[in-house]
């Protein structure tokens, strides 16, 4: 099962490498990983997407919790949550293609954020699934370059992850 784990950790050098090291050491996989400081500069928030059965996920969360730098964590997929990923994609766009791409961008509620006479750079935010669908709609031959931010997530409702 795909899980989104959100981790609050000390904003210290070496902290990130301990998290990443744990995954490679113990043979857990990381689908995506994002990290940035929070409103409290002494803390970073890391979101990682991993795949595993319940036993694997339990081991992952237990071992993450064991890291001294990790302050708190939550498996967002255990409850209702919002997940977002940002996609920037450069596409070939000339002649009739331009309108067609614009339509797709509108359908997916994206924005064209850069343009030349031959290409667009498009920004789309949403779930990973939605971004996959958008890329599929564009078609391989028009895509020049893709960059995705990896998933960020937050629980729905009043629940917060904080110290």
């Amino acid at each position: 099962m795909r899980r989104i784990i959100s981790v609050l950790m000390e904003n210290e050098p070496g902290a990130l490498s301990r998290v990443v090291g744990l995954f490679s050491q113990r043979g857990y996989n990381i689908e995506s990983l994002t990290v940035a400081p929070t409103e409290d500069a002494s803390l970073s928030r890391l979101t990682l997407v991993t795949i595993g059965d319940d036993h694997k996920i339990e081991q992952i969360t237990k071992n993450l919790n064991k890291l001294i730098d990790v302050v708190k964590l939550v498996d967002l997929t255990e409850g209702a949550h919002i997940e977002r990923e940002l996609l920037l994609v450069k596409v070939r766009a000339s002649g009739a293609q331009r309108d067609e791409i614009k339509r797709s961008v509108d359908i997916f509620r994206g924005q064209i954020v850069d343009v030349t006479s031959n290409m667009y750079t498009v920004q789309v935010a949403g779930t990973s699934e939605k971004l996959d669908a958008f890329l599929q709609a564009l078609g391989e031959h028009t895509i020049m370059e893709v960059v995705r931010s990896g998933v960020s997530g937050i629980a729905r409702g009043e629940k917060v992850l904080s110290v």
Partner: protein, 578 residues
């Protein structure tokens, strides 16, 4: 406030932490620290002959005392030489603080002379690590390092100290913190009372119970409580290789060690158990054999301070996260406050069954090795030493057949007396570990049981024994081969002894010992075994190297059948299988 340089701060912080002993080896990046050590009196520094020796010595010291072992090494090769010892301590959850010199801050990352990324190299084998960025951080980092190393599930902590940070010219106000606030680290305390009640009820209803106790009981100071609990319930106890001494080896309820080279009675009882109380043990693969076939009918109660150890390989029916001491004492309180007793007739039947297993193939009901040959058997050497030392010695072991024979035949009545590298299985551990123990307990008999293979991995520490006058006994079970490797090759590779023998290249250990200023003794004839051993053990003020030539063809049995075997599937001799 007093102004101190980083180097002086580091040493002062160690003093304030109560450290009186450091094991180390100097070099460029650590020289400011070494100078600070020179200018003080209360901390004694033991100069080893190889940084691996320093880590194992600190480790042996920590295992024998429960205190944190402290190591000081220089950057680069000094730091990397310490890696094996750090990994050894990590695998066995031993509290240790390793201070490594580092190149000056502004040179980090430039491939400077003797630069290695110590925090990076050691990352997978430490509980935590620190890279010191400024001298002002030193007191708090030292405080945190000792706290982390010694609490929860203990382990090694590295403090990497760039040379500029210890510069004697730069002074800062020094204050050692008396309190720590760490929002990200809260070691487990008491176990969940509801779970503990459930566990006690489960124990009381057991018909075929076994208590399976590991190194966590030794480390967590739970041996007395465990013993009280087992005696009160009259339950059989088996110890892991790491747990030996957690329950008295001479108690009739002791089944011996379990696992790969565990006793027939311990492994068979585990297999047939209906309730297993696992305390401070981690269901290591050398214990469980094939996890899918592990103890098919057993309800498992698992007590451990580390939540990540619970249900890692074997799923626990009643998991309890907490310190061994608090959980065991709570269990005892519940038992004492109620009149409930286990089902006596079931327990009597269970003991009858176990005694029958003991009679048939037990290690302690009859010798399970040759007693009529001309050659000295390794098992009888350990038996003899057990008798001569009346079971009271501290025994540090190396790794191989000799280690297993010692674990099987030297019965420890007290915790912290059996010192061995169980998790990593580090050859070379024995001698430095024994020296670390001897420093902690100068008046106790300390033995290093080793093989002619292992001893050569840290033999240089014989010189440290000379310098600090550490009269330990080195008991070498010399089978002229990497015996454990050879055993596997004989059992699994049709006897193709690929690189497990030395072709007449062994040194004369007697002369070697003498060259270091010690006594050497060789024992080759079976008739002289006891007399010579008595003679050796009568010597108290010299390091004695006892080189005993044992039957090179002997194997360690029982040995669990691998792969795909269950706990009770064992080879009992070269030809006999369960």
């Amino acid at each position: 406030m007093e102004l101190l340089s980083g180097g002086d701060m580091l040493v002062r912080a160690l003093q304030d932490e109560g450290v009186d002993l450091i094991f180390g080896y100097p070099g460029g990046s650590a020289l400011h620290i070494y100078d600070a050590i020179f200018r003080q009196k209360s901390i004694k520094h033991i100069l080893v002959r190889h940084e691996q020796g320093a880590t194992h010595m600190a480790d042996g010291y920590a295992r024998a005392t429960g205190k944190v072992g402290v190591v000081l090494v220089t950057s680069g090769p000094g730091a990397t030489n310490a890696i094996t010892g750090i990994a050894t301590a990590y695998m066995d959850s031993i509290p240790m603080v390793v201070i490594s010199g580092q190149v000056p801050t502004e040179k980090i990352g430039e491939d400077a002379f003797q630069e290695t990324d110590m925090v990076g190299c050691s990352r997978p084998i430490v509980k935590h690590s620190f890279l010191v960025k400024s001298a002002e951080e030193i007191p708090e980092i030292v405080k945190k390092a000792f706290y982390i190393a010694s609490t929860g599930r203990p382990g090694p902590v590295v403090i990497d100290v760039p040379k500029d940070v210890t510069n004697p010219a730069d002074r800062f106000p020094y204050r050692y913190p008396d309190k720590l606030r760490m929002r990200s680290y809260t070691p487990a305390g008491k176990g969940h009372s509801g779970q503990i009640r459930k566990a006690v009820a489960q124990l009381l209803s057991a018909k075929r119970p076994v208590i399976y106790a590991g190194g966590g009981v030794v480390q967590g100071g739970g041996a007395e409580l465990l013993t009280e609990l087992a005696r009160r319930l009259n339950f059989p106890v088996t110890n892991t290789l790491m747990g030996l001494g957690a329950f008295p080896g001479s108690d009739k309820r002791f089944l011996g060690m379990l696992g790969m080279h565990g006793t027939f009675e311990a492994n068979t009882a585990m297999h047939h158990a209906d309730v297993i109380l696992a305390v401070g043990a981690r269901f290591d693969d050398r214990v469980t054999n094939t996890p899918g076939k592990f103890c098919p009918g057993a309800k498992i109660i698992h007590v451990d301070v580390d939540p990540a150890s619970i249900s890692k390989t074997i799923v626990a029916d009643i998991p309890i996260v907490g310190t061994v001491q608090s959980v065991l004492s709570e269990m005892l309180e519940i038992l004492k406050s109620s009149d409930e007793q286990p089902d006596q007739s079931a327990i009597v039947d269970w003991w009858r069954q176990i005694d029958d297993w003991r009679e048939r193939h037990g290690l302690y009901t009859a010798p399970r090795y040759r007693t009529d040959g001309a050659l000295i058997m390794p098992q009888e050497v350990i038996r003899a030493v057990y008798e001569i030392t009346e079971g009271n010695a501290f025994v540090a072991s190396d790794v191989g057949q000799h280690q297993m024979f010692t674990a099987q035949y030297y019965l420890f009545d007290k915790p912290r007396r059996w010192i061995n590298s169980g998790g990593l299985g580090t050859m070379g551990f024995g001698l430095p570990a024994a020296l670390g123990v001897k420093i902690a307990h100068p008046d106790e008999e300390v033995i290093c049981v080793t093989g002619e293979g292992s001893i050569q991995m840290c033999i240089q520490e014989l010189s440290t024994a000379t310098q600090y006058h550490l009269p330990v006994k080195i008991l070498c079970l010399n089978n002229q081969a990497l015996g454990m490797v050879k055993q596997w090759q004989e059992m699994q590779y049709e006897g193709r002894l690929s690189n497990s023998v030395y072709e007449e290249s062994l040194p004369d250990f007697v002369k070697l010992a003498e060259a270091y200023g010690h006594l050497g003794m060789k024992i080759e004839r079976r008739e002289e075994l006891y007399d010579k051993l008595r003679e050796a053990f009568a010597i108290k003020d010299r390091t004695v190297f006892i080189d005993v030539y044992v039957d090179p063809s002997e194997h360690v049995y029982p040995m669990q059948v691998m792969p795909n075997g269950s706990m009770r599937d064992m080879w009992l001799s070269k030809t006999e299988r369960t």
